[in-house]
Amino acid sequence: MVQQLPAIILVTPLVTSIIIFFTGWRYKRLAYPLTLIAMSVCLLSSVFILTGVINNGQLQYLLGGWPPPWGIEYRVDHLNAIMLILVSLLGLLTATHAKKSIEQELPERTTLFWSLFILLITGLLGICITGDLFNLFVLLEVASLSGYALIAMGEKKALYASFRYIIIGTIGASFYLLGVGHLYIATGSLNMADLAQLLPELLHSKTILVGFAFILLGLCIKMAIFPMHVWLPDAYTYAPSAVSAAVAPLMTKVMAYVMIRVMFTVFQPEFSIMLLRVTDIMVWSGTFAILFGAVMALSQNDFKRMLSYIIVAEIGYIIGGIGVANAIALKGAIFHIVNDAMMMTCLFFVAGHIMHQTGGHRIDDFKGMFKTMPVTAAIFTVGALAIIGVPPTCGFFSKWYLLLGGIKAQQWGFVAALLICTLINVALFFRVFDKGLFIHTHGNGPAHTDFTGKPLAGEAPLTMLIPAFSLALVIILAGVFNQFIVNDVISFAIPLGF
């Protein structure tokens, strides 16, 4: 059974997606339970995969029984296993959360939403599990295309934002494909493990260098590294809130995973670090991304847009951590991929609650939140403190590893950027806290009405609260018990050569 899990985790959502699409014309109600079942199956199998990997080491699955260099191989080690758990967990939570939210925002197109949503998760899971560079491209397109469509369903400006995302995203994917092509020309192989053995002899070939550069560039665009981030804020702001919660945290993080995979598994760490010195560039682009993202976030009035810019900054953390390129910083970067996905999802959930209850996602809509929506406010507090990096939330601990790695490598610019960003995050979130906490600020009206006398919203429905609340709990627990995660999983996920 365990041997078949890598297939099950992909096939289940893929089939569910198709079933939902076709049954949806008649049985609209079926979509939600089917999605939940599929997502739960994914989560369960990814948990089993992780325990399998921890106990028995790498897990291999040959698709159709074809041996590796020709057939497609799914290979799961610790790094994949965490990503699988992350994607399927957040997929399940977002799906639970999405029900009420899309019923309100997209009442006509729920079936379409569910089927695309599951397709998106399928693509993301596939990217994480596959051991084949071309297969990765295919699944990347599956995820991206469903992502474009989902984003386009959003508000008025979403169509334009999504179109821009399609153009830039396709360029990124093409770069990636071009790079894979170069590697294929030089080695004749697409399998990651196979390439890892073939490449060291060819490292000085210009073809390989160009291929490497193309792949990295493509990933950078997909990952929205500053200054290639322009598509991100619009796309995530105007998407339906359930879509933002699914796409925004996961897409960029999965791309960060691919980057680690390509740089340190397919290519040797010495090649990426010593020979090409890309890591130096990465540290600096990470540093600038952090500062730029933080400053831009500060100037936003829209909560979701602010979160989008925070994502740009957080990507800077991760890319900088990869670029610092010592074991501690890499631990921090991988841990931050996990943490950041959870924190951002948590905050996008909150944005979803506010959207559902007040109909907007501006910071002004948070007014009086602590009084009218106490549970949401508590969840928001946890998420915000995690982003700021206040212990005992998990955000502190990944930041700790990143900072320590930066100090060990003497990358003072990166360290300073991290600290400055922390301060700016404080300003960012306390602006929202102020809105939520202090209702007497303007005028002396009764607490439950705003200027126009419109009553403020109540608490969000339970299907939205439960996933957000459990995620907030996970954020704290992942912080408190971070040693289990870091020592038992992440330290094995560090690629060889560190």
Binding site: P391, L404, L423, V426, F430, F433, L437, F438, Q483
Partner: protein, 518 residues
């Protein structure tokens, strides 16, 4: 089950009680009476828990309790030693009194958002106790941040633009300082491989790996991190924070928060850097100069204040620097004095703040110039104020004398007579701004004053001699009057019997640990 309540687990309970209290308050938000009794029960339990550890620590040395592993080489651990116990005793004892006081104060003024107030208060105490008992810098940092964040809603409680901007200032200084604290912790961990507090300091072996200059820089990062100690020039948040309700100013901005700052500095100087390394690096003198400047300048600021609470804030800044100066002199006597000044100043300053709050709540007076004749209508309150004020100056029958005497002795002992001058001058300047208050309150009929403040004439009529004593008019007022009388009495008791609650023995033990054999 008995095992869990044994002495080894006490540090854990000391952390859990305030947390439970905070949760209880949150749940009982709709029922004020149950909520307040929850606060009282919580504070009493916490105080007994803390006090029950004193004899054990005095007899057997520190109680170590490790909860779980936080980071490689760093545990979430508590270590109850003499120094921490003094701070914890001060905070937890005063929490009981301030809880009682808050009931009177908040209800007299019919304040809004009382549940938030009590909740944040309990959370702040959690932070203070955690800082006191933390066994390493990271654990300390966790509680340090909890303390900062939980006091923010308290500072901005009034929700007026002024209060909110004070809250922002508060966060900017303290969370900004927190970032420096974090970087200093990271550097310490990088050099020493641990962040556990050691009696002789842990950074000394790192002197080879790290240059003297970088160690000095990191020390300043630590100092900036402890912006809570309100040394100049990072003091500006404290006077602004006085917009908070008085119980907050009293317990947090005279005891828990600011003492957490100086407590942190003592920890850094004694248990991270160690006395030897401080002398090698010449940091003691630098710190002493900073403290001396703060003492003098804060006094001058205080002289210029008309708002009573702001004046007390500057007085707090001044007194905190006495503690820093005591540590910076690096001699056993002065460190003893500094450690003693934590509880002693706490009791005296809280008396003054509680008096100021009671006067505001009962009569509405906020500035010193309005206080004419208050001493006659509120004799107990102003009597307590006089006791507190004398204590600030270090006059003999009061606790302030003991601690200042030790610090002065330390200055002599270490041969730095210049600082002896500063200590005397600082104490004299205290007289300059406290005695006018007393004079205004008791002898308001003095002609010189009446001609000076003509514009405030109407207020005076309210409190002429014919007015009866008003402070015990309503039973609610007694909730305020009794705690401040108790703290005033304790200020005297601590001079006559400095070993009440084992404070003096603990201080001696803490110093002995730091200096080896004394």
């Amino acid at each position: 089950m008995t095992d869990v309540f044994s002495i080894a687990y006490r540090p854990m309970w000391a952390i859990i009680w305030p947390a439970l209290t905070a949760l209880f308050i949150l749940c009982m938000g709709k029922r004020p009476d149950i909520r307040e009794s929850g606060t009282l029960m919580g504070s009493l339990t916490l105080c007994f828990t803390v006090l029950s550890m004193t004899p054990v620590v005095l007899k057997n040395g520190p109680i170590q309790f490790t909860w779980f592993n936080l980071l490689p080489g760093i545990d979430f651990a508590f270590r109850v030693d003499a120094l921490g116990l003094i701070f914890a005793t001060t905070s937890s004892c005063l929490w009981i009194l301030v809880s009682v006081y808050s009931i009177g104060y908040m209800r007299t003024l019919k304040e809004h958002a009382q549940t938030r107030f009590y909740f944040s208060f309990a959370a702040a105490l959690l932070g203070a106790i955690g800082i006191a008992f933390a066994a390493n810098l990271v654990t300390m940092f966790i509680f340090y941040e909890i303390l900062t964040i939980s006091t923010y809603p308290l500072v901005a409680h009034e929700e007026s633009p002024e209060a909110i901007s004070a809250g922002h200032k508060y966060l900017a200084y303290l969370l900004g300082g927190g970032v420096f604290f974090l970087i200093a912790i990271l550097m310490t961990y990088h050099w020493a491989g641990t962040t556990d507090f050691g009696y002789q300091g842990i950074l000394k072996p790192a002197l080879g790996a790290a240059s003297q200059f970088s160690l000095q820089i990191v020390f300043f990062c630590f100092l900036l991190g402890f912006a809570k100690a309100a040394w100049m020039p990072v003091h500006a948040w404290l006077p602004s924070a006085m917009v908070a309700p008085t119980p907050v100013s009293a317990l947090l901005h005279a005891v828990a928060v600011v003492k957490a700052g100086v407590f942190g500095i003592i920890r850094i100087v004694c248990h991270i850097y160690g006395i030897d390394l401080m002398q090698t690096l010449g940091l003691g003198l630098v710190l002493a100069v900073i403290a001396a400047v703060t003492i003098v300048v804060a006094n001058f600021y205080a002289i210029g204040q008309n708002n009573l609470k702001r004046m007390l804030a500057y007085s707090t800044i001044n007194q905190l620097s006495f503690i820093i100066l005591g540590v910076a002199l690096l001699s056993p006597m002065s460190v003893t004095g500094a450690i003693l000044h934590i509880p002693f100043h706490g009791f005296m300053k809280i008396t003054l703040f509680l008096c100021a709050g009671a006067i505001t709540a009962i009569t509405g007076i906020k500035t010193i110039s309005e206080m004419k004749g208050v001493g006659r209508v509120m004799p107990i309150t102003m009597g307590a104020f006089v006791i507190g004020a004398f204590g600030m100056c270090g006059a003999p029958p009061l606790a302030g004398f003991i601690s200042k005497w030790h610090i002065a002795l330390g200055a002599v002992e270490s041969g730095q007579l210049f600082f002896l001058l500063i200590i005397c001058a600082g104490s004299l300047l205290d007289v300059v701004y406290f005695f006018p208050v007393i004079r205004t309150a008791f002898f308001a009929k003095m002609p010189a004053y009446e001609t000076l403040d003509i514009d405030l004439e109407p207020k005076i009529e309210l409190y002429t001699e014919k007015k009866p004593v008003i402070e015990n008019k309503r039973p609610l007022y007694l909730f305020m009057i009794v705690p401040l009388a108790v703290t005033a009495i304790f200020s005297i008791v601590y001079c006559l019997f400095p070993d009440t609650f084992g404070i003096y023995a603990l201080a001696q033990m803490a110093v002995k640990n730091t200096f080896g054999g004394m």
